[in-house]
Symmetry: D3
Subunit: 188 residues, 6 copies
């Protein structure tokens, strides 16, 4: 795990799924290397950019009026690692939310976060020919979503501050995982 370049993009960006593409962070934001980018905007994934075949089969709509989005790219073409990293990212978000709320309201189930039966997130991990990519979106608004949801707004959490906390936590996780990997001996 290399150093992860983090960036909150203040401009609003509508997430359509096109952003889950190799080098999006480099092309759009000049971030070269492993990166974690966050931005705010609506979410409406076009079917041609839906990566979860279960959603495609079901004709699901991945929609939210307002989300905080994370796009993460690791230049390591390993889908198993990407899925594990995605879940750690979601765990970091749950930890951060619960710490702010002062109660364990938010639970991670697989790659999604829930508050009771309300879904807070959408998320996917995939691979490009040269990298692995993660999208995670957490609702800001919980209005007009296809399923029952909750969002940062419902908790009174400021999205940008939350984004910057998560970006820093994800980068720190990557760094400490790398250190752990470099200081362990093999076993028999």
């Amino acid at each position: 795990m290399n150093e992860i370049i983090c960036r909150f993009i203040p401009a609003r960006i509508a997430y359509t799924g096109e952003q889950l593409h190799s080098h999006w962070a480099y092309r759009a934001h000049d971030l070269l290397g492993d990166s974690a980018v966050a931005f705010i905007g609506p979410c409406d994934v076009k079917p041609e950019f839906m990566k979860d075949v279960e959603d495609l089969k079901a004709g699901s709509r991945i929609y939210s009026e307002e989300m905080l989005h994370f796009i993460i790219e690791h230049f390591d073409v390993d889908l198993d690692r990407a899925v594990l990293r995605q879940r750690l990212l979601m765990a970091l978000m749950a930890e951060a939310l619960n710490a702010r709320l002062g109660r364990p309201a938010v639970a991670r189930r697989g790659s999604d976060l829930y508050d009771g039966d309300a879904k807070l997130t959408v998320s996917i991990a995939s691979v490009s020919p040269v990298s692995a990519l993660i999208h995670a979106g957490i609702n800001i608004s919980s209005r007009n979503t296809p399923v029952k949801t909750r969002g940062l707004g419902d908790y009174g959490i400021a999205p940008r501050e939350f984004a910057e906390e998560i970006l820093a936590a994800y980068a720190a996780e990557g760094k400490s995982a790398w250190r752990a990997r470099c200081k362990v001996r093999g076993c028999g």
Copy 2:
């Protein structure tokens, strides 16, 4: 990620580090394949079995009077994945603890759990020539430990019940991660 065979071993076992060895679950408990085993016993890792070079350099003692131990083996020789899985295991423990406590008392920092400045766990991920191995121990007793600790006993949590919850959660995590990996398309 293959199906993970789970087993709580009722017999007390003193963890010395020798258990962090390929095929320990198969040799000692006849579990063939990816496995997650839990047992209760003291922890006193012999230097020759210490895998964290930082601990070796520091001459640290890895000691606890009474711990709940997890030994996990995946037949996939990839240390990066093992480190990620280890952290997910710790996240599962933190989630389970906080859910029981009803407050986010326990925080994961890297591969360890803390309650304030008290350390709850020891943990390592390593590779054998044919597999990856994880040891995680969570204190039951917090007495006579080299650093300030807390343990399941301090929270009034029954170790075996907790162990079985974590084993089931880890196996479910592995299964859902595998499903996620199998239903995603590549991206551009």
Copy 3:
């Protein structure tokens, strides 16, 4: 090697090469994970779906009036392993055929089966961005094929029964290979 989900599809399907695509088994037959699917139908591979560049260069036609088809998908993007698995599949078919015939009439040469100079099969192994895929077709009819062929019909073998035997054998092979991999120690 994970558990391989096996399925014989009773409906006739014309094999055009389009089926050699990631998630075909999931999309068309709701099989999620490593899978081996068999069905009966003609074979006429469209050039845009031909994966063997040698065939493309030669302008070969991959054609049969009636074949028993196998489509296998492993969520492990390793072409070398896929080629080895493909050959084991063909070896299983040769073994099953010869056992039924009571004489070693069918010989495997690489990834194809022959009875003397008559070709019984077409076969390819490839990789998608997220998986490895194998197609193997064994003639039922040997009429009107571009080269001299023989088929299950010439041997009086019922395709569906044969298909189910091969599916079971392939799944058992995968399971026993996984067990073998999990019980061996490394060497010096």
Copy 4:
């Protein structure tokens, strides 16, 4: 898969398990690179060189008065591929035996060959720190073996000639698998 250097060693060698070691072919026979070596001699594997933990647990004796042995080394540290190659080797042996016998007497089950309930072979695939290694031994004599066995002698097959046929077939398999891998396109 690189070119596989083949060599039948005329000198008798007692197989003890020590030969299943990286660079044995290079050290003992000056064969540098991927290699397949055959020789004749007794088989009596010392427990410290037994690699199958199931045998170790059972206290099995791996013994034969006279065997034809194959030691194969690939400089590719991938145990899954090694297990697949091992099974292809066994399939090649079964095919060669049945072709000689004119009837499908010999069946491969996993990594072993059987004639009815008589076992013909012992076999293992493992990895060293720099390579993958396969041992396969096929009985010449079937006397005094721990289980019911049959051997090349029972079939009137000359071991050296058989060895050279199998070595050539294994090298040809490797070459044709490599060609197959190099001429296939990816799929969607």
Copy 5:
């Protein structure tokens, strides 16, 4: 590293970037397996075939009136190795140039060669779904290039002779690297 098939193509070929495609050597020149091909012709890479995103972002033109081109394909989908091999190829070119010039005029910086501030080369390493590919072009003519350049013509070096020397050196490098890999033991 398998044997690398080398070929100088006498016919002039205009390099447009389309040649950086899996199986180009096999389709166009019937070279099956790892290969290194050289030819002479202009260079004008169409944007849709530009692989360096930095060039795409900058709208760079990759242009030369006359270049000696190398297209290398390894059937090993590992971009890190491809980048290392590309740099070794460039080092081989620098060594060959300086040996001919009798002075260390040419310096390698990353994947390019320079004579003072004049650029001699363009180069890229990428991966296809089944292989890794390298293009390296060294100017023959240094006229009308977008940046200050030098070329083989300026040094009075015959391109074909130079090409054949480099092809042979690259193949020898591959062979000796493979031998080195096969004769080394692991360490602790």
Copy 6:
């Protein structure tokens, strides 16, 4: 390729081969992560630490009165990449030597440097259970070596200055190779 931590160690260290061990840089010099360390001292490799089986078979002595040593560790267990990196390191040394000498006196052949028939270096690349390791030693003194040699002293080159130049060049190579890998798109 992660950031490579570089360090010249002023203390004299006798190279015995024991230093080619995982975590040597961390244990002895507190450098955690990918590292390149240089030091000065004699070279006399004990047979138990010789990693080149060709040397072991030949009973070669790897000896020099005074060498500049480089020990490089990458936490990436891939021997092919390690061999390629080793050769790039040697190319960097040859480039640096020839630039200083003002003539292309030093030629790299595989993993060694020569000045005519005089050998300047010894070098090996290997893997530990958790990393890849490279040792390269370049003679300072050329006296009393088992074969004809030349050394930095013969060229009037100050070892420490040379060491620091090479360490910086190797780290820059790693960084630019990583950037190259991160900005390239896949191809068809």
